[in-house]
């Protein structure tokens, strides 16, 4: 009774808001919920000629095939390691940059630095990886620098040990400026009275950072962290397939690049959907886990 009354009241008051929401709702239904139906081909032997409903069921055969594959452990390990490195090194980087920029008093220097760090975000991935490939060759820029400091030039992208560093560092270079925007806007919202109060209490710059700035932007950091965790295993295949070659498969081949090779190039759709579904399930689990942890310890959470 009470609920229906509430709904009615809410509807009356916010009718226009609900109308505004309709396009978004349609978008999600069409592009995010309807496609989920296609995920059932993970449990089928899909043949385009027979269609999704017409293809025969095979149960968990596609999943067991993946679990039994000789590459299963390696793919999981590479995906997790690369993600974790990306998270450990890549997550704090924009926060630190934002904090540093926040302390800069020279307006001109600040805006130049910001622009310079944003720019790489707008370079197409193909160009970035093309540059990395060229720079990493024995005659490339990176090797010129190495030899300048007395090192020995070597084909860097053919060394499995260096692959992760190149991947992670280039990602940070490309995204650090862009990622710092949200923190900069959070920092702009911190009440300046708090700083004044802290100064009166005798806090130096460092103490102000620890006790005023960080607590103020903590909710943003936590939300960003949870979102990042939710896509931890969700490494895109584009950068990997542009950067790797058989000699670096050992550290470079990740779940999504494997899906690309098997699914799109070999047309094994059911198998690759099964792997993708497995991957998403892990992601979802991670998201739930982080959210719960965050709720318990910091009282900030997605829901």
């Amino acid at each position: 009774m009470k609920l229906s009354y509430q709904i009615k009241k809410d509807w009356k008051r916010n009718r226009s808001l609900y109308f505004i929401m309709i396009p978004v709702l349609i978008f999600y239904i069409l592009f995010h919920y309807k496609p989920m139906y296609g995920a059932i081909i993970a449990f089928k032997e899909y043949s385009p000629a027979l269609g999704v409903t017409g293809s025969p069921w095979v149960g968990f055969a596609n999943f067991t095939r993946f679990f039994k594959s000789v590459y299963f452990i390696r793919l999981i390990r590479n995906t997790i390691l690369l993600s974790v490195y990306n998270l450990i090194l890549g997550f704090p980087a924009p926060i630190i940059l934002a904090l540093l920029l926040n302390e800069v008093r020279n307006k001109k220097f600040k805006s130049i630095t910001q622009t310079v760090t944003y720019l790489p975000h707008f370079i197409s991935l193909i160009v970035v990886t093309g540059m990395l490939t060229d720079f990493s060759m024995t005659t490339g820029l990176f090797n010129d620098v190495i030899t300048m400091f007395g090192g020995k030039s070597s084909p860097l992208l053919q060394d499995p040990k260096l692959y992760r560093s190149i991947y992670v560092l280039s990602s940070i270079w490309q995204e650090v400026g862009w990622g710092s925007i949200i923190y900069l806007s959070a920092l702009a919202g911190v009440d300046s009275q708090l700083y004044e109060a802290a100064q009166i209490d005798g806090a130096g710059k460092w103490k102000q950072l620890i006790h005023v700035t960080l607590p103020a932007i903590a909710p943003v950091i936590v939300i960003m962290f949870i979102l990042k965790m939710g896509s931890l295993m969700n490494m895109g295949y584009e950068k990997t397939i542009l950067l790797y070659n058989p000699s670096t498969y050992e550290t470079a081949d990740i779940i999504s690049s494997y899906i690309y090779r098997i699914g799109l190039l070999e047309q094994d759709w059911s198998y690759s959907t099964a792997i993708g579904l497995f991957n998403s399930a892990i992601n979802f689990g991670l998201l739930l886990f982080t959210n719960r942890m965050s709720k318990r310890y910091s009282e900030t959470s997605l829901w």
Partner: protein, 557 residues
């Protein structure tokens, strides 16, 4: 925020998404069921009709055909066409083909580089074009027989008997080809692309700087030891930093590596002297090949960046003197590089080297060669086609005398003239007034310079190769017994094909990885036995069993 969180769940199942997104599946099944039914009745009708006519030979079609419905023709637009035209129907070739056959064709093309993806989408949608040009042998999961069983394409046996006198006559004269273009069950399924001359089969080989050889007083290398001497001299005396380089990321080159052939092996399947299918990458010859490559690599004779090289980087190195030897095609590599380099260095010259051997004076046992029919660019009539007779007659045109000349040389008096009985391309092609390269000028008028449903003529190649060094490549590169070891276009049964590809996917990934590691020396060749053992554990025996059974079925076609 909440919505975004939940949506993360399955947005990653992107493949599933794209596939389901393209049409409600209920419709798809209904149409495919309907088309299968239609196919069966059509096929039955054909049989009775053919039965009635008994041994009657097909009547020659009179072109142009009388007016009728427009036909949809789906094919990839090759890059030499797409650089000047958006649609095959806009080319002189396309217009003339329609005019001569009297068939109005709507050409449909997938976006560049998305042939397979688009093919899958069209299939899932169920509404097929009348004619589809595709590699039904390698790119339809399960092969052509499966495509017929799935109700995608029609078996052509009765159709060819009734409507295609030209193709029928050609196949009767060429029983070898006839065997290649059938399935194991004896079904014809496509109007094939056939390389009609032995000259057209040796397309890839070794080449090196002839002007450097002259400077150094060296001969064109014949044995592996010769090669070692030449490459070392290039490095030490000519300052080549990376004496031997090639486009390693192009799989086509890897499967026809002449240095592996020298050791009687290659990285994939071949037919051994026992007549059985072998897998080269686990044999002793492959170990010897890797030993040599590892030695060369450590001596700096092979490009240190080899694994990441793409074609533009190789072109740069070959034309600016960083490298002196490479592997590739006579047209797109040797010809292009020579033309580019001679602009600044008139003495620049490349020469083809024969398939290397281990002992001097020996004839090479292995060498690169292609099958006359590889499956590529072959046209099938789909089950959606309403006017089968018209479609069949349109396709049959290319296999007759007139069509053959049209597909290979274009329009007489415009793109070619007969000089002493030899079809000679005019200056419109050879010295295009708009400044187009020969390959692009050709693509406006003919299909002879790339592929399609017709028989390719060697006289095209004789003119396309303008340099003497290019013209001699078929003979130099073809000087081996490679044909005896070449796997014909065999197909696993539709039941086995899934198992086969599962096994081979794993093996190929591992082989590619280890091959490079052995070559770079990051993995010692003492580990070769472990490598072989691992590949065997991945099910190589089963894969060979499937391949040998397929070969037997092929031989008894």
């Amino acid at each position: 925020m909440k919505k975004r969180g939940v949506s993360l769940l399955l947005t990653a199942a992107m493949l599933a998404g794209t596939l389901a997104g393209c049409g409600s599946s209920k419709e798809t099944t209904e149409t495919s069921a309907a088309t299968t039914a239609a196919a069966t009745t059509a096929a039955a009708a054909e049989t009775t009709a053919a039965g009635g006519g008994a041994a009657a030979a097909p009547v020659a079609s009179v072109y142009p055909l009388s007016a009728g419905d427009q036909l949809q023709y789906w094919c990839e637009l090759t890059s030499t066409v797409s650089s000047n035209y958006a649609n095959l129907g806009e080319t002189s070739f396309g217009k003339g083909w329609m005019e001569r056959t009297g068939v109005d064709i709507q050409f449909l093309h997938p976006p560049a580089g998305q042939l397979k993806e688009q093919f899958s989408l069209i299939l899932a949608d169920g509404n097929l074009p009348d004619l589809m040009e595709y590699n039904w042998v390698t790119d339809y999961p399960g092969g052509p027989e499966k495509a017929i069983k799935d109700g995608v394409i029609l078996p052509l046996n009765d159709i060819i008997d009734k409507y295609c006198p030209n193709l029928k006559a050609y196949l009767k004269e060429n029983p070898d080809i006839d065997r290649m273009i059938k399935t194991d069950d004896g079904n014809y399924y496509s109007f094939p692309f056939i390389r009609g001359d032995a000259k057209l089969l040796n397309t890839i080989g070794l080449m090196l700087r002839a002007d450097w050889l002259v400077d150094l007083g060296l001969e064109v290398p014949e044995t592996m030891d010769d090669w070692h001497t030449v490459l070392t001299a290039f490095k030490e005396k000519k300052g080549a930093v990376a004496p031997y380089t090639f486009e390693y990321t192009n799989g086509q080159y890897l499967t026809s590596d002449p240095f592996a052939y020298a050791y009687g092996t290659n990285r994939s399947f071949y037919i051994g002297s026992d007549g059985k299918v072998h897998f080269g990458a686990t044999e002793d010859g492959y170990k010897q090949f890797l030993t040599t490559m590892a030695q060369w690599y450590s001596e700096g004779l092979i490009d240190p960046d080899i694994a990441t090289l793409k074609s533009d980087q190789v072109s740069a190195k070959m034309t600016n003197g960083v490298s002196g030897a490479s592997m590739g095609q006579a047209g797109s590599r040797m010809g292009t590089w020579t033309a580019a380099a001679q602009a600044s260095n008139p003495s620049y010259k490349l020469v083809a080297a024969p398939p290397p051997t281990l002992k001097k004076g020996e004839k090479a046992e292995f060498g690169q060669i292609e099958n006359p029919y590889s499956g590529r660019a072959s046209v099938a009539i789909t089950t959606s086609c309403k006017d089968i007779e018209r479609a069949a007659k349109l396709m049959d045109y290319a296999y007759g005398e007139e069509g053959h000349m049209y597909f290979n040389f274009g329009i007489e008096g415009e793109s070619y003239t007969m000089v002493d009985g030899y079809p000679t391309y005019t200056d419109l092609i050879m010295k295009n007034p708009d400044g187009l390269p020969i390959s692009q000028a050709m693509s406006g008028y003919i299909r002879g310079n790339y592929n399609g449903p017709f028989v390719q003529d060697a006289r095209y190649l004789e003119q396309y190769y303008t340099l003497y060094e290019q013209k001699e490549t078929p003979e130099v590169w073809g000087d081996s017994n490679g044909k005896a070891h070449l796997l014909p276009p065999i197909t696993p049964t539709s039941d086995e094909s899934k198992e086969f590809s599962t096994i081979m996917n794993e093996i190929n990934t591992y082989r590619d990885e280890m091959t490079l590691k052995f070559m770079f020396g990051t993995e010692s060749l003492d580990k070769f036995d472990d490598y072989v053992k691992n590949i065997n554990n991945m099910g190589l025996d089963r894969a060979l069993e499937i391949q040998n059974a397929a070969l037997e079925r092929y031989n008894s076609r």
